[in-house]
């Protein structure tokens, strides 16, 4: 899933690096974003979803673990249960609100950790060059040798089910591409004239990285990272689907999707709900990430 996105990065970096860094650039980005109505619309939906799951304890009418066997698999619009109930009679609206917290957590955390760790390693590799670069990149290549889904399943299969193990395996899956993206970005910036000039003028490496490199590469790396969030969410749900991710009775969307499957012949509409949640969130993250990249791409 993530294998191709890295190929798009050089196109992005090129455009970015030819422009001068500084306030003008970021103001330009903000301006372009503010005119991009589609991205704003999806961003708003994303924020609303985030608010909903953040305030889940206030919004949810029930306890997500409270079951009610008399009313299991109730349809949408059932009294007191606007979105129906699941196979144990738990209110689906509540389960989805609380489940969103887990799904977002599993979507964002691995990407965040990979962004920080992978970004750091990639920038170091890109800036230092030589043997340091070689060491880091070759180890990355080993992890790159595994297709993402395979790696996630293999690591989770080895470690067992559970949120912590899922985060660990997903982080390991995303670190390799993050390192590579960060390294590519840093390498292209490193060659630039003003960076050479800064070096010639005797500035220390740390200063150069902080002042010249980071502002230039942070943008593209961040934009790439946001595109990984939806992948992470879908992969996490996929792990739960295989029995390797979240453990019951936690209401993560992927797990709810999995357990509701057998109700597809009795209450097909409610079985769609967790899938719809994953879908909507993914689309929003993807569209916002796209908008960010487009805004940062000066040439278009």
């Amino acid at each position: 899933m993530i294998e191709t996105s890295t190929a798009e990065v050089p196109l992005m970096i090129e455009g970015k690096a030819t422009a001068s860094q500084g306030q003008g650039y970021w103001q330009g980005v903000a301006r372009r974003l503010s005119r991009d109505k589609t991205t704003i619309a999806f961003g708003v939906v994303l924020l609303l979803t985030f608010a909903a799951i953040l305030f889940a304890p206030l919004l949810a009418p029930y306890d997500p673990y409270q079951n009610d066997m008399l009313h299991r698999l109730a349809p949408i619009g059932f009294e007191h249960h606007p979105l129906g109930t699941d196979e144990l009679g738990r209110d689906l609206l509540t389960r989805l609100l609380y489940g969103g917290r887990l799904s977002w957590f599993l979507g964002i955390t691995p990407v965040l950790i990979a962004f920080m760790l992978g970004g750091l390693l990639g920038v170091i590799a890109g800036f230092a060059g030589g043997s340091v670069n070689m060491m880091i990149m070759r180890v990355t290549d080993v992890f790159f040798a595994f297709p993402s889904v395979l790696l996630a399943v293999a690591i989770s299969g080895a470690l067992g089910a559970g949120i912590f193990n899922a985060i660990l395996s997903l982080t390991l899956v995303f670190i390799a591409p993050m390192i590579r993206v960060a390294e590519t970005a840093t390498t292209s910036v490193r060659e630039l004239d003003y960076v050479e000039a800064a070096r010639a003028s005797g500035a220390g490496s740390f200063t150069i990285v902080r002042v010249h490199v980071l502002p230039n590469v942070l943008g593209p790396i961040f934009a790439y990272a946001t595109s990984l969030i939806s992948v992470s969410m879908i992969l996490a749900a996929g792990l739960s689907f295989l029995g390797l991710g979240t453990k019951p009775p936690d209401p993560e969307w992927g797990l709810v999707l999995n357990t509701l499957r057998s109700a597809i012949y009795t209450q097909p509409l409610i079985t769609m709900l967790p899938g719809v949640c994953i879908f909507v969130t993914s689309i929003c993250f993807n569209m916002v990430s796209d908008g960010l990249r487009a805004a940062m791409d000066v040439r278009s």
Binding site: M1, E3, T4, S5, A7, E8, P10, L11, T38, G129, G130, N133, M134, M137, R138, V139, D141, V142, F143, F144, A145, F146, P147, S148, V149, L150, V153, A154, I155, G157, A158, L159, G160, E183, T184, T187, S230, V231, I234, A237, G238, F241, L242, G254, L257, R261, I264, Y265, P268, M272, G275, I278, F279, S282, I283, N286, M287, D290, R299, S300
Partner: protein, 330 residues
């Protein structure tokens, strides 16, 4: 994209870079096999369970462990396995006693068949959608197609597969719900009787590549169309058909690189789709092996898939670097 004079001067270092990359395949392959081995052995649960039931008598357990070398320290086990692999022997499945190589070759062919059909579907649709979206950029056509593309990568595809099975298999009864061929076997011939088993799984699997290729091709084509000399050529009255061929030639390198990588994803990432459809490919084999702790099968399959991916990555990298040396790495 096209080499110019300045780039040709850089060629020697490019060649050195390429040679170095090829050379690195060996240690990478070694490291990959080590990672496979470690992954498989961190797993909780005893590999002996693939052979013996949990209530087998203790002396039997000791005897079997010894026969399979499971009582030796891990580095020794790894060394022995590696030695066998170098001789082309992937060992025997603990669960079935069949040589791993035989099981793998059947599974690989099944997955390859599925991956290729899904790739053809995804790449064709993706290229068409991407090209059209770029050509009609900014219009509702563009927005529609981009929407389709984003949907492709945002939908949990295994869930979509289940929905398709319910619609087409159960309710409408026009397509089979599972398996790779009639009569419970994946013996193949290209007739409808066999092909109908491919339809739903390949459509499901093609969703993500379709989405990714659409966006990639769109981006590439937009960039090409935006180049100054295109405007010039258009001004000079170049025919749309020659323009189309020109775009195709220039988009091909990067687009093919992306498609190549996507093929790798399809080969290795089909585990979820294969589970939903009981498609007897490498993903299905892996899923079983993980839960049965069938270590030789696990190690052999992961190694093979990873090596395939390493070689694929390498070829894509070589292609990209040869065509665009500006993307240079240390």
């Amino acid at each position: 994209m096209l080499l110019d004079h300045a780039d040709i001067e850089k060629t020697p270092s490019v060649i050195i870079y390429l040679l170095r990359r090829v050379f690195y395949v060996v240690p990478i392959a070694l490291a990959v096999s080590l990672v496979c081995f470690m992954l498989v052995h961190i797993a909780p649960g005893d590999p002996i369970n693939a052979i013996l039931p949990p209530d087998a008598p203790q002396e039997l357990v000791i005897q079997v462990k010894h026969e399979y070398g499971l009582d030796k320290p891990l580095p020794v086990q790894f060394g022995m396995w590696l030695l066998h692999v170098l001789h082309g022997d992937l060992g025997r499945s603990l669960a079935t006693g069949q040589p791993v190589w035989e099981e793998l070759s059947v599974a690989v062919v099944n997955t390859f068949r599925l991956a290729v059909v899904a790739a053809l579907l995804g790449f064709t649709l993706g290229s068409v959608f991407g090209g059209v979206a770029a050509a009609w950029r900014g219009t509702w056509i563009d927005r529609c197609l981009v929407g389709v593309a984003v949907t492709g990568v945002s939908v949990p595809h295994y869930w979509l597969g289940m929905v398709l099975v319910v619609i087409f298999g159960v309710e409408l009864n026009v397509l089979p719900a599972m398996g790779a061929g009639p009569g419970g076997s994946s013996d193949w011939s290209w007739d409808w009787e066999h092909f109908q088993y491919l339809v739903l799984p390949s459509v499901t699997l093609a969703m993500i590549p379709m989405g990714i290729i659409t966006r990639t091709v769109r981006g590439i084509v937009i960039e090409i169309l935006g180049q100054d000399f295109i405007t010039t050529l258009r001004g000079k009255g170049m025919l749309p058909r020659s323009l189309f061929i020109h775009v195709l030639k220039n988009a091909a390198p990067n687009a093919s690189a992306v498609m190549g990588l996507q093929l790798g994803y399809l080969m290795g990432g089909s585990i979820l789709v294969e589970t939903v459809f009981s498609w007897p490919g490498t993903g299905f084999l892996l899923n079983n092996a993980i839960f049965q702790r069938d270590i030789p099968v696990l190690q052999g399959t992961i190694l093979l898939l990873a090596l395939f991916f390493v070689v694929l990555n390498l070829m894509v990298d070589l292609l990209q670097t040869a065509l665009d040396p500006r993307i240079k790495r240390a």
